[in-house]
Amino acid sequence: MSVLTSLAQVQAAAAGVAQPVATVRHCHLAAAPLVMVPLKMAGEAAAPLAVMLGSDRAAPELLAVPQPRNRDLRFAFAAEFAKLVLEHVAANVGAAESLGEGKDGEERVRYTEAPQILLPNRGGVGFLRLLGRSTRFRRTEGPYAVEPAVPALGRWLTWYADRHDRPGSSLLLTMTETLRLHWATGQSSLEDGNLAALVGWIDPPDGLDGPAAARRAEDPVASPPAGPATDPTFDNEVLAPAIAAYDGAGRDPRAEERVRDALRGQLAPTWDLMWRSVDLLRTLPEGGSVARRWERDRDGFTWFHRSFAESLPQPRRDIAVRAARRLHDLERAQDAYEAQRAFDDPLVMIEHRLNGLAFGGVVVGGDPARLDESGKRPKLRPHLLVATGDPVRLDPGATVVNAARPGLKGRVLEVGADGVLVELTGGMGRGLVPAAGSVPQVGERVVFTSLTEGSFGPARFPEAEDTPWTHGGPPAEYVPTDEDAQEDWS
């Protein structure tokens, strides 16, 4: 973090209410996201207990496993869950935009929508990842056959969890992380992990301030945890007796309803919080580069969906080349995402101004029509003197761009007491007279930065069959095995 976020936290603590750390929304919010609140059974790696999900806040679906230790009930749950997730996926397939022909002469398309999932927290992502891992290798025929939707669910969940690792992707968002990207509270990141406490700080209910709302959120009875872990007291005092009654009553539907009611009570408050959080995020205007990143998400979705039928489930572990490529992609995405956020949002750009890699101020002088006539042909090279109080750490010669219009490029000539002298080098039109409005006038506020988007070039990796011996040599081709398909899930 930085002094800036720390200052925002200190301000929040003093004010008793969260403080903004963003002025625009840095993620895409779909018109109809699939909101999901999963619960797992304590002590088990990925035994689902229940999930509340849906795209209609007034009508959530509740899926529950009345006896989470029963394998058949667990797979029945997975099948029902699969149906709803696959419906959400299918609802976003349809219209596509043409991108022209690719190198191989085939027409490329991009779906105009993509299915977004919203979860309360990172724990939920870990749970979906494991649920995906435990279902994607299942077979739909032979011994231990499962419903066809189950392995499909596993592959989609695995894909979602992978996309979540990608900085700037909005396909699978977690609410606590997303809110923290936009607001700073007067509590630590540990407490911010509690969605109810975090929302309490950002938008305290009437009559309460942030700390009071957060305190109330820490009472697991008034405010059940947002999962996937359940409250131990709830487990011991409510859930365990209800499950025992279900076992004892010979799976009576009324006993099942008792388990479901108990779980509904735990999930409903978080369900409401999720939608309140969506409302809070919608109050912010969308950042300028969000649509472009969502385009990448739609590309990813289009590709995964169109190649789904002929692909195998994702292997347990990536082969070396794939892992290296993926890591490189993630680093590139991180780099671009950080730069884009700064360009989209002055409140993020100040992070770089504080570090001296950007500066802002008022144009106080210069020569807006200056021509450099030292070469064979004259070139348009206006000078701008920007008065700034920022701690500039750019050396003369550093390339900078205008934060509000990155097309306007320049070079730092001198950092002096009365300001920074910048020579503009591009983005002013083709002639020897700058295009109208392209050069900032005296009195205008400007921000220049050395930040560039996409400084990270693509890298070349060998094909899988050329994997060097240092990385284990060419990997064996992945073939799903019976062992994978029949793995215990107990």
């Binding site: 790696a45 131990p232 100040i350």
Partner: protein
């Protein structure tokens, strides 16, 4: 160390010393700078009872589902004289345990007194050290001195290899999936195992043998993937060992903390308890929530006096030297003059405050930079 024992006993009041186990000893390594925790732990004060009495009970409940699962898994691994465990140690861990004697030390003939059980563990270990027998000890009872108080520890099993080294085996019920487990859980298990290794080494040394005969390599036995099948993973606990040893050495120096206390101070439950607890300085950080029963009380106290520590370690590091929210804000708006050592930070805070105000104003006006 023994000199402070009476003083520590007095601190505890009439209550018997709270027993340490490997988990609580491992927790001693968290937040070493906290005098309150250091003192209460050294005196064996029942922090859970104190926190409850103060109205800030610790939220350390455990779900019966998790307990059932944990017990069930351990039982399964240990069934039939640790049959499953032996297979694992042979096949996966490459331990050469051929002829195996299995000793369950849980119950000693005629009673379960801790001294008695410890004596038997000691005797059997001594014989094993001399005789080089391949042995599995189940439920041994080890002893470790914590600031003058004996703490009894019960590792899950100790395997004795023919090559002449002891290995601690930790049985945990969290899953290892495709070779990976949750890092926090592995870290906690490693800290706990390190405490066992340390206690075992001390015992081996007392018996006149080379403590290095207790390996720093422990075996973590966990369910594999989503099944109940156990898998064993070797863990090198040298870093954790070093930390635990350093902390324990430090604990024995609580005499300095004790000296600074007013006479007659006691953590006995009563009306004066809040005052007593406040008299000993705490150093709250959000990490305390995971390991200390006093955490919620200390957090409340730290919040009430506007300490920056409650906002997390990153904030405390960023604002190094500025301990309170009010001071940070006054430095940021220039109403407090910064002492020379804080001049640089104060400058940064002022710039940060100006930049934030500008950017927010701009956003409110509906413009972009």
């Amino acid at each position: 160390m023994t000199d402070t024992a009476p003083a520590l006993d007095r601190l505890r009041g009439d209550a018997p010393p709270r027993n340490h186990d490997a988990r609580t000893i491992a927790a001693l390594t968290a937040n070493p700078g906290c005098a309150r925790r250091g003192l209460m732990d050294a005196a064996g004060v029942d922090k859970d009872a104190v926190a409850r009495h103060l109205g800030f009970p610790a939220p350390f409940g455990q779900s019966q589902f998790a307990i059932t699962r944990g017990n069930g898994f351990e039982q399964q691994v240990k069934e039939n004289g640790c049959a499953e465990l032996l297979t694992l140690l042979r096949e996966r861990a490459g331990l050469d345990v051929a002829e195996v004697a299995y000793d369950d030390l849980e119950v000693v003939a005629g009673g379960e007194g801790r001294e008695l059980r410890h004596a038997r563990t000691r005797a059997l270990l001594g014989r094993a050290l001399d005789g080089d027998a391949g042995t599995l000890f189940d439920h041994p009872l080890l002893k470790l001195d914590i600031a003058g108080q004996p703490a009894y520890l019960e590792p899950d099993v100790i395997a004795f290899q023919l090559a002449g080294r002891f290995h601690v085996v930790e049985i945990k019920s969290f899953a290892v999936i495709d070779g990976q487990a949750e890092p926090e859980q592995v870290a906690a298990a490693a800290r706990q195992a390190a405490v066992y290794v340390l206690a075992l080494r001390r015992l081996v040394a007392e018996l006149g043998h080379d403590p290095a005969r207790v390996s720093h390599e422990v075996f973590l036995v966990c369910p594999e993937n989503f099944s109940n099948r156990p898998t064993a993973t070797a863990l090198d606990v040298r870093p954790q060992l070093a930390t635990v040893e350093r902390q324990l050495a430090r604990l024995t120096r609580v005499d300095r903390l004790v000296e600074a206390l007013p006479d007659g101070l006691t953590f006995a439950l009563g009306e004066e308890l809040p005052e007593t607890v406040r008299a000993v300085e705490a150093r709250y950080a959000p990490e305390c929530m995971a390991s200390c029963e006093m955490a919620i009380f200390c957090r409340d106290e730290a919040r009430a006096c506007g300490a920056t520590g409650v906002l997390g370690r990153s904030v405390r590091d960023d604002l190094g030297g500025v301990d309170s929210v009010a001071a940070a804000l006054e430095l940021a708006d220039g109403t407090r003059e910064a002492p020379p050592e804080l001049a640089e930070l104060a400058g940064q805070l002022r710039t940060a405050a100006r930049l934030r105000a500008e950017a927010l104003q701009l956003a409110a006006a509906g413009g972009v930079a």
